[in-house]
Amino acid sequence: MSDAASALREPWPDLDRQRDGVSVGIWLFIASEVLFFGALFLGYAVYRALYPEAFRIAGAETEVFYGSVNLLLLLTSSVTMTIAVDASRHGMRRTVIACLALTILLGAAFLMFKGLEYSADIAKGLLPGAHFPLQPPQTQLFWGLYWVMTGVHAIHLAIGIAIVGAFAVMLWRRLLPIESPAMLGVATYWHFVDTVWIILFPLLYLVDRS
């Protein structure tokens, strides 16, 4: 119990309030992230509506295999993260740390496959510029958006891995109690990054690929 009590921070009057506070805070942050990615998706939507044919041609070049593998990896990582959250409520220390470690591994695997995918894209010359292999020129709009969208997502994922990693280390070294209110914040962020990929996947990999 003293373990849990040590989680209480200024200025919160009690741990329940603090947990609620973390929840309010993280959801507000998620709201801001929804607008951040939303602006990007709006750009995609506008250009896709204007140039459907070019987007079809450009979208045919994305690596569906890597995209799908990554989708499965992230979905699985959300499962492991959810188990970690539930386990933390029950004080199951080993389960929590193991699941967080698994989540990190799955996230890292995503980044690895992303790297392989990027090499494949670059090998096909799909960097917008003078030597872009596709026509018409608006296919470069799709690919410009592709690099920005997947790049911003990957950065968010990398930050997520760092945060989950730091959190897991602090739990392991008993700097934080297993019931730490921060668990919910970390998990919510991770699920958000997964959700962004769930939205990105059809936009980038399933364009007219039904």
Binding site: G21, L42, P128
Partner: protein, 561 residues
């Protein structure tokens, strides 16, 4: 130093005061105390205010003659760009929220700190990090796109340090978002017992509504600038017309943030004025509920009007009409507030200390600024007046005549609380009046020359406008003096100022129920609140001059501070 001064200084170092809790630079740079973070912000934004001010001082000097004096056109363009970027993002947006909001929000709701103290410190470091990019851009030679970064000028044609400047603004945007998240959570979750929503001071409501806008609008700016950086630095086409991109898409994304941004700048100012006027009129604010609804309405409808910046950008006439209509609607709650502040003076008992002078100046200048906004909301008027000095005059009336006046009002009002010292009232009043006169001399001529066809962002200009430009530049000089004066007398007050008691103004509000300066934990015991805010009518005829006698307030039931 006299014995009295030494004794006074000793009071500062009492461990009870937040100023005394740790004297090293490191203790300041690693603090999580919201009051210290507020001061870190205050120092930073003041520095940037003067950098942005010097930039425009050089511009106004250059504009004394139509054919240039000492600047190349490139240098001129970089100076006005820097002025806009610095003033908007490194001064105005953080100004009241990050300084007064940070300091006062927990005090006003009876909390020990904000919801996430470490996030608060992190937000200041984000500000500093973003500022570093901007200073780098400045030292390297500046950016020449205007503060609006329009494409394709910014992505493909500008020769300045666009990426650095855009990166700086991108980073400082997250400082805004962090502050907003903190304030919303704080207002929701840390109010003292008995402090229901409709007992909150209007300043708290202002912080709450502005935080909603900061959290929801700023990310769109971040993405717009990220896309500019992606296109300029990495060649990824997003707005490139040659490859099917739409430069106007950038404008939509940019203004979707930048219009709410101006409400980010004015809502906190309105909050300050709503605290100051009741205190110096010794009267409760007129129409508290409507004032709350007006804040909310401005915040919400403010998200729907961005297209009024784009009436000539190539939007359809239908879009123009819709945005025009909504722009007229958003003016209504602002008008309500002006009426209510004015009505608060009716049957009041008014004194004219510096905070009140600035607050009353705010009401007048904001009224003119807001009314000229109606001009610009009318499409045919805007088609002529947009991109001229008319627009410059309009937004300076609201942002400088408005927000900066309110910032000064708040600075003077809460200076005793923050520092424990009184400033020189005579000098402060002189500065307030000089500010008002200098401001009008600077910007009223700009309405005239704008309507007469003087375009904005012009280094060289037609001879016919010279007289107006000279008038404006002379006004700017007076304004500059008025802004430097507070640096002097506030600085002086820190060492020699008369010691302020807990409540030198006999004001209501929980922040006045604790000592000046407050202890680190704000309240020794969290008070309970059973009274409505602005219970001044019970105070009428209570003297204000003596600040050493503890005021006889109707104390909260369980006593506080």
């Amino acid at each position: 130093m006299t014995d009295a001064a030494i004794a006074d200084a000793a009071v500062d170092r009492e461990p009870a005061s937040y100023l005394g809790a740790g004297h090293t630079l490191l203790s300041w740079l690693t603090t999580t105390d919201h009051k210290r973070i507020a001061i870190l912000y205050a120092v930073s934004i003041t520095l940037f205010f003067f950098i942005g001010g010097i930039a425009i001082g050089l511009v106004r000097l250059e504009l004394m003659t139509p054919h240039g004096l000492f600047l190349t056109s490139d240098a001129y363009n970089r100076l006005f760009s820097l002025h806009g970027i610095i003033m908007v993002w490194f001064f105005l947006v953080p100004s009241i929220p990050a300084t007064m909001g940070n300091f006062l929000l927990p005090l006003m709701i009876g909390a020990h700190d904000v919801a996430f103290p470490r996030l608060n410190l992190f937000s200041w470091y984000l500000y500093v990090f973003g500022a570093a990019f901007t200073v780098y851009a400045l030292i390297s030679g500046g950016v020449d796109t205007g503060w609006t970064f329009y494409t394709p000028l910014s992505t493909n044609y500008a020769t300045g340090y666009v990426v650095a400047a855009a990166a700086g603004v991108f980073v400082v945007g997250f400082s805004s978002i962090a502050t907003g998240v903190n304030f919303i959570a704080t207002a929701h979750m840390l109010r003292a017992p008995g402090l229901t929503w409709f007992r909150l001071p209007l300043f708290v409501w202002a912080m709450y509504t502005v935080s909603m806008v900061m959290v929801l609008a700023t990310p769109v700016l971040a993405m717009s600038l990220l896309l500019v950086i992606a296109e300029r630095a990495f060649g990824l086409p997003i707005f490139d017309a040659a490859r099917g991109g739409d430069p106007v898409l950038f404008q939509h994304l940019f203004w979707f943030y930048s219009h709410p941004a101006v409400y980010i700048m004015i809502l906190p100012a309105m909050g300050v004025v709503s605290e100051v006027i009741p205190c110096f009129a010794r009267r409760t604010i007129f129409g508290y509920a409507f004032m709350v609804y007006a804040l909310i309405a401005i915040a919400v409808v403010g998200f729907m009007v961005w297209g009024h910046h784009m009436f000539v950008a190539g939007q359809s006439p239908l879009a123009n009409l819709v945005f025009s209509f909504l722009s007229f609607i958003v003016a209504v709650p602002s008008a309500i507030k002006v009426f209510n502040w004015t009505a608060t003076l009716h049957r009041a008992e008014i004194t004219f200390e510096a905070p009140m002078l600035y607050a009353l100046g705010f009401v007048g200048l904001f009224t003119i600024g807001g009314l000229t906004g109606l001009f610009l909301a009318s499409v045919p008027i805007d088609i002529h007046a947009t991109d001229t000095y008319f627009v410059i005059a309009h937004f300076h009336f609201v942002m400088v005549g408005g927000t900066v006046s309110a910032y000064m009002a708040g600075l003077h009002f809460w200076w005793p609380k923050v520092t424990g010292r009184m400033y020189s009232e005579a000098w402060a009043r002189f500065a307030a009046i000089t500010t008002f006169l200098g401001f009008n001399a600077t910007f009223l001529p700009q309405f005239v020359m704008g309507w007469n066809g003087m375009p904005r962002r012009y280094h060289y200009y037609p001879d016919v406008f010279q007289a107006w430009h000279v008038m404006s530049s002379v006004g700017a000089l007076i304004l500059a003096v008025a802004y430097v004066l507070p640096l002097i007398y506030f600085g002086w007050s820190l060492i020699y100022g008369r010691r302020a008691g807990a409540n030198p103004w006999n004001a209501t509000g929980l922040e006045w129920q604790t000592s000046s300066p407050p202890p680190k934990e704000n309240f020794h015991r969290i008070p309970r609140v059973d009274v409505e805010p602005y219970a001044y009518d019970a105070f009428v005829h209570l003297p204000m001059a003596d600040n050493r006698t503890p005021p006889s307030l109707p104390s909260p039931a369980s006593g506080g501070g």
